[in-house]
Each structure stands twice: as structure tokens, then as C-alpha cells.
């Protein structure tokens, strides 16, 4: 494969190199917080990438993707609570239950289009949310603390933050590679054709429903894996993991980074989560000389700055950040 060195590809390469070398930086500076933040970023990027598979490539506007995050997480938490600590059981169960839930949601929602599809996926996710809230044995509304991370018979120690970070990164890169193979395969051509013009796909002989459903289940399973990782990362699961605002966050990561772009969701997740962390300090830093203490209080309302920023991206950069970078690359090539 030919990779040309343009602004967009350089950004991706630098980003990947930074992710791989991050633990080195942490070892030198002792900045443990960066490791925690980026472990979270990597996990959420996996979830966002899985959403991108159906949203960006398949045109399936699922507004309930956080449900799989929660189901994967709860599978790990509930099994741990019942004394089953081995990841060899916890994780396959997490994947299986996510896949099953995606199969049920997809089988029913994919018979509809547009707004109905969005509302159905949202309704199923909210149902899962209320079920999680009602699990009084597992903490109900308060959530469930996981006292011991998944055990892998000494192969890997998830409590070691660097090992855990690299495991998450491996799953993210593996997931992106998998998506890349999928979307360029015959299966992926059907999925993309169906996004482009589903009626025509059926007219030329494709029973598109079963392909779209398969894609939906693959994406749900992948997000279930991200959920299992997230539960281990936070040592805690709660209904908030499944709430619809979390699904909205995932959609924003995808749209901000670039729908239907392989690395878009990763770029979007990094941008969104880093901004979330950095915006309060930036507001404080820039505002203090002018407004003194008021800036400190304003920093609590950093979302007021984030909201319009996201709005600008949606309005002016249809392809998200990745689309912008590609436009820049083309301009540079033309000179």
C-alpha cells in the first residue's frame, strides 16, 4: 500500500506514535494522570470506532450505542460480584451478551428507516438503562464497585496500569484494522452500497437486511468489548454508562473526528476528551488576568465553550476534523 506523506496522514502517524510512546513519557515525568486519561481515551475510541462502522460506513443512525458499553461493563461487574473473577469467562460473556442484545435491537429496528430507526435504538438503550437501575442486587442506581479486575491466569495483570493501557491500545488498533478489512471486503461493499442506495441494492439482487444486521451485531460486540475494558478501567459500573447522553457523546466523537473515516473516531475522541480536561484550565489561565477570581468560577461552565466549538465543526467541517485535514492536504498538493 502507498501511504503519501500529507498533513492528514502525518497527523495520524504522529497520533499513533504518541499513543504507543505515552507510557515512556509517563515513566519519565511520573504523570500518572496522563496514563489514566489516555487509557480512557483509547477505550472510548474503540467504542466510537465501532459506532463509526454502522453510522459512518453503514448509514445506520444508532442512537443507543452506549447500551453495549454498559452491557459489556455490567457483564464483567456482575460476574465479579458473584465471585467469577476470571476474564476467560467474564469477557466472552460480555461479548456474547452484547452480540445478543445487538441482534434483538437490530432485528427489529433495521426494519425501519430514518427517525424511526433512531427512536427505536434509543428506546432499547433506555430500556437497558432502566433495567440496570433496577438491579438492586448489583447496586441499582448507585452502581457496582468492582473490587478485583479481570484475572487472566497470570498472563497479563490488568491492575498494572501500563500493561492495561497497552492491552486497551492493542484492542483499539486491532479493532481499527478489523474495520478496515471489513469495509473493503465484499461484505463492506454491500454495507456501503446499502448506505448509498438501499433500494437499488435490493433491485440488483442483495438481500441487504441480513448484511446490515450482521454489521450491526459486529459493531455492538466490538462496543461490548470496550465496555468490558471500561469496567476494568474505572473499577466500577453504573447505569450512567448506558444513559442516552453517553450515546450522544459517542456520536459526537464520531462526527467530530469524521464519519466514515477509519481514524476519524480516534481523532474525535482524543479531541473531545482532551478538550474536556483542558478547557477549564485554559479558561482559568486566559481569564484570570482580566477577570480575576471570576474566571475560576467560569471554568466550571467549560461546556459553554465546548458546545459552540462542536457546533462550528458540524456546520463548517462536514467531514469532521479528518475531513478538514484531508482538505488541507489537497490544497498543499495543488500548491
Amino acid at each position: 500500500m502507498n501511504i503519501s506523506l500529507n498533513a492528514r496522514n502525518i497527523t495520524v502517524i504522529v497520533l499513533l506514535a504518541a499513543l504507543i510512546l505515552l507510557p515512556l513519557y509517563v515513566a519519565v515525568t511520573g504523570d500518572r494522570f496522563m496514563l489514566t486519561l489516555f487509557t480512557r481515551i483509547v477505550i472510548m475510541a474503540l467504542a466510537a470506532s465501532s459506532l463509526n462502522l454502522i453510522l459512518g460506513y453503514g448509514g445506520m443512525m444508532s442512537f443507543g450505542h452506549a447500551a453495549y458499553l454498559g452491557i459489556g461493563g455490567y457483564a464483567v461487574g456482575m460476574l465479579a460480584h458473584e465471585g467469577i473473577g476470571t476474564g476467560f469467562i467474564q469477557w466472552p460473556v460480555a461479548l456474547l451478551v452484547s452480540a445478543l442484545f445487538a441482534l434483538i435491537v437490530g432485528a427489529l429496528s433495521l426494519r425501519t428507516r430514518g427517525v424511526y430507526f433512531i427512536m427505536l435504538t434509543l428506546a432499547f438503550a433506555q430500556m437497558a438503562y432502566y433495567i440496570a437501575s433496577g438491579l438492586s442486587r448489583y447496586g441499582g442506581d448507585d452502581g457496582l464497585t468492582i473490587y478485583k479486575r479481570s484475572q487472566f491466569a497470570g498472563l497479563i495483570n490488568l491492575s498494572n496500569k501500563i500493561q492495561f493501557y497497552y492491552l486497551c491500545l492493542a484492542f483499539l488498533l486491532g479493532g481499527i484494522y478489523l474495520i478496515w478489512r471489513l469495509i473493503n471486503s465484499r461484505f463492506g461493499m454491500v454495507i456501503q452500497g446499502s448506505r448509498s442506495n438501499d433500494a437499488r441494492m435490493q433491485a440488483i439482487g442483495f438481500p441487504t437486511y441480513r448484511y446490515r444486521l450482521t454489521c450491526f451485531v459486529i459493531a455492538g460486540t466490538m462496543c461490548g468489548l470496550a465496555g468490558a475494558l471500561l469496567a476494568n478501567h474505572t473499577d466500577f459500573v453504573s447505569p450512567a454508562m448506558l444513559y442516552w447522553t453517553r450515546s450522544g457523546d459517542l456520536m459526537f466523537m464520531v462526527i467530530l473526528g469524521g464519519m466514515g473515516s477509519l481514524f476519524g473516531p480516534l481523532i474525535g475522541t482524543v479531541a473531545l476528551l482532551v478538550l474536556e480536561e483542558a478547557l477549564p484550565s485554559i479558561i482559568k489561565l486566559l481569564g484570570s488576568p482580566l477577570f480575576g477570581d471570576a474566571a475560576g468560577r467560569a471554568a466550571e461552565y467549560w461546556q459553554i465553550v465546548l458546545g459552540p466549538l462542536l457546533l462550528l465543526v458540524v456546520i463548517f467541517a462536514r467531514g469532521g476534523i479528518d475531513g478538514l485535514l484531508q482538505k488541507v492536504s489537497q490544497k498543499v498538493r495543488r500548491g
Binding site: 478489512r181 471489513l182 473493503n184 471486503s185 465484499r186 461484505f187 463492506g188 461493499m189 454491500v190 456501503q192 452500497g193 448509498s196 442506495n197 433500494a199 437499488r200 441494492m201 435490493q202 433491485a203 440488483i204 439482487g205 442483495f206 438481500p207 448484511y211 450482521t214
Partner: protein, 256 residues
């Protein structure tokens, strides 16, 4: 008489009070180009839609190659070798021209639950797609996004996609619609080459093209076949002249 490849028997379809097909019978023999003409609202597009399976008839039977396909779903009919092109072009505009045709090839190359190999490097998909593009004269446009082609080229691409599945029969729904004189002439030339290898059912408004291409013509009026026969016989048929060609002439006079 040779066994018909496509046989339509007593097809009936109404939409509320409107009769789109009224005990319509029709047969298309292997190797012929059979044109269906008729004034607006005669039920030509509804006929095509029933042949492809998008519309279910109220009564009557459709046989393709001796097999009753009346209840066979859309995607299966296309797999049996019955391909159609659309009156309103319906393409994958955000994919490349070659991808459009390759998808049509893929539809006939077994199931697509193949998750790993790069579909754009599979010669069984790409070579027939390129060949189909060459046949309609779009060989040099293969790598462009379908959205940048002209209207006439979209029609050619439609045809390439219909050809890509190696169909036994083509259903062409007004392939000349909206084409300029030059593009029309090119389309007639392409169809003339195709009719040597394929059985074609052509629904078309452009009389010049119909009489230039058709082996037999069926005339529809209010969902009924009022006449069927060789172009010369149709031209001479008094009922047809009165019901249809007369109107076309007066229409022509109005435009002129």
C-alpha cells in the same frame, strides 16, 4: 413459435379506481427485442414493476423461462437472470463508476458474507465490471465518482450495471428519457449491439428509437394490450393509430 422466455398471463393491477393492468397478456421470445409503447398512464411502468417484483399483481401470472415467478421476491428475480434499468437513474453516487458495476457483478457471484479479502482486488468482480463498462462506452470513466458523470453517462452506467449480472433478459424502462439527440443516438447504437446477445423488453416513449430497434411491439392503452406485432403491422393498425399514434402526432403538432 419458439417457447417464450417471458410470459405474462392475464395480469391485473388496480390502484384504487385506476386500472394499471387490465387482463394484460404478453410474451417475449428468446432473442427478440420487444418494445412496449403506449400513451402516458397506460401502465407501462407498473408493468415493469410487476415484472421485477416491486409491485404484486392482483391477479394473473408471470412466467420466466417456464417458471412461475409471480411470488418470487425482487432480489431473487434478479438472480434468475432478469435485470432492469431504472427510468429515474438510481445509482451509488458516492461510489466510483467501477464500484457501481462491480457491486452489480457481486450480486450474482454468490453470497457476500466474505469479510476479509479486499473486494477491489478480486478479478472475478473487477474484470466483468470493466468489460461491461467497455460495452457501454464508459471504459475511460471507471475510476471517477459516479456523481460527476453527465445524465447521459448515468444512463450508460445504468445499462452497464444491468449487463454486469450476465442477465438472460433486460427490462429497460425508458432508457432514452431526458437524453439529447446525440446521446440518444449513442444509446440506440449500444442497444442495437446488445440485442444480438440478449432478450430485451423495452419500454420507451421515443418512437424513432422504438421503430428502429424493435422486432415486435405491444401497444398498451389503459392497462390493456390493444395490439401486438411487427413494427410495420403496428404502424398500419387502425386501432393503434387512433388510440396512440394519432395522439402522438397531435402532441407533436402541439410542441411544433
Amino acid at each position: 413459435m419458439a417457447e417464450a422466455l417471458l410470459q405474462v398471463e392475464n395480469l391485473s393491477k388496480r390502484f384504487g379506481g385506476i386500472v394499471a393492468s387490465d387482463a394484460l397478456s404478453l410474451d417475449v421470445r428468446p432473442g427478440e427485442l420487444h418494445a412496449v409503447i403506449g400513451p402516458n398512464g397506460a401502465g407501462k411502468t407498473t408493468l415493469i414493476a410487476q415484472l421485477t417484483g416491486e409491485v404484486t399483481p392482483d391477479a394473473g401470472r408471470i412466467y420466466f423461462s417456464g417458471r412461475d415467478i409471480t411470488a418470487v421476491p425482487v432480489y431473487r428475480r434478479s438472480a434468475l437472470g432478469l435485470a432492469r434499468s431504472f427510468q429515474i437513474t438510481s445509482l451509488f453516487l458516492d461510489l466510483s463508476v467501477l464500484d457501481n458495476v462491480a457491486l452489480a457483478v457481486q450480486a450474482h457471484a454468490g453470497h457476500s458474507f466474505r469479510f476479509w479479502r479486499d473486494a477491489r482486488s478480486v478479478p472475478e468482480l473487477r474484470q466483468p465490471a470493466r468489460a461491461a463498462l467497455e460495452r457501454v462506452g464508459l471504459g475511460d470513466r471507471a475510476e471517477l465518482p459516479a456523481s460527476v458523470l453527465s445524465h447521459g453517462e448515468h444512463r450508460q452506467l445504468e445499462l452497464a450495471m444491468a449487463l454486469a449480472g450476465r442477465p438472460r433478459m433486460l427490462l429497460l424502462d425508458e432508457p432514452m428519457a431526458g437524453l439529447g439527440p446525440e446521446e440518444s443516438a449513442r444509446m440506440v447504437k449500444t442497444l442495437r449491439a446488445l440485442k444480438k446477445e440478449l432478450t430485451i423488453l423495452l419500454v420507451e416513449h421515443d418512437m424513432e428509437a422504438v421503430f428502429a430497434l424493435a422486432d415486435r411491439i405491444t401497444v398498451l392503452v389503459y392497462g390493456r394490450a390493444i395490439a401486438s406485432g411487427a413494427p410495420a403491422a403496428i404502424r398500419a393498425n387502425a386501432e393503434v393509430r387512433q388510440a396512440y399514434l394519432g395522439e402522438a402526432e397531435s402532441e407533436g403538432a402541439r410542441h411544433g
